[in-house]
């Protein structure tokens, strides 16, 4: 009976170790599929050219799309939403809202000498 108890304890230890290992592997595989920096890299580069700010503050969604498309691979999709901090309303939204990649956001203080804080939320992903 003692041997059987020892074997059960050993099997339990093995099961716990296996569960921990499986959790680590799942985390590693998930991390490899996610791209935390894509949205930040693209948004940061777009903001350095100022065309995106001009399009957002003119509320021109067609120009926003054209500006974003000028930086992205044609088969990739994006989602952009602009939130007005004063009214707390979404003032502009374009792209595919079905994407699930990580969202980057940045707050713009204003444009052309005016104070009008807007928050830009942006994500890059595939075929939403």
């Amino acid at each position: 009976m003692n041997f059987t108890l020892d074997a059960c304890v050993a099997a339990l230890i093995l099961a716990v170790a296996l569960a921990y290992f499986a959790d680590s592997v799942a985390g590693a595989a998930w991390g490899a599929r996610e791209h935390y920096d894509d949205s930040l890299v693209v948004l940061g580069r777009l903001l350095r050219h100022y065309d995106l700010q001009r399009a957002v503050y003119s509320n021109n969604s067609a120009l926003v799309e054209a500006v974003i498309r000028a930086a992205m691979h044609p088969s990739h999709e994006y989602y952009l939403a602009v939130v007005d901090l004063e009214s707390e309303a979404v003032v502009l939204e374009c792209g595919s809202s079905r994407l699930s990649s990580h969202l980057a956001s940045v707050t713009l203080p204003g444009w052309n000498g005016t104070l009008r804080p807007l928050v830009i939320c942006f994500r890059v992903g595939g075929g939403g």
């Binding site: 041997f3 590693a28 894509d38 890299v41 498309r69 930086a71």
Partner: protein, 180 residues
Amino acid sequence: MEYSVDALASLVVFSLALSAALAALAGSLEVVTSASTRRGLVRAALPISIEVESLNGRCVVRAPRRCLVSVVVVSPRKSGLEYRVVRGLAPLEVAAAERDWVVAFTYASVAVRPGAPVRGRAVVTMYGVARAEPELGPYVVIGGSGYRVVPDLRPAASAAAPESSAYLIRNSTLALGVRG
């Protein structure tokens, strides 16, 4: 006899648990190796491919999707270089003589139609001709009848799955890294 049954039972229990653990480990190895190989970026490319097409004194800049393009038309003159910048949505048509250089930009791609040789060296950015090399790429350096695109990257393939690619900055230019 009692010890024999006990030993046999313990052997069966432990063998089953060990077999299950080893089978799970072997199955996980494939996931781990594929995840580790996917992390490495093997090459960088420009995300977009645009092209300049000449049509009887005019040029048409084409892109795979409707996007903002900036076209710099550089005209070599005896007194030096003259240039003008045209911005608009692709496909964009601009007037350009045969001897003019036509350089089209997006934020992450370049297309050049060479023209007559220029004196000295000219740095063409998406905002015009600059005196020095700019902080943001891409840009084109024209010297004589030749030119050099910075960074020297090829456009990415028409299909680049987001799962196997990542955006990055390469030589001050937005690029697309393709994972191995």
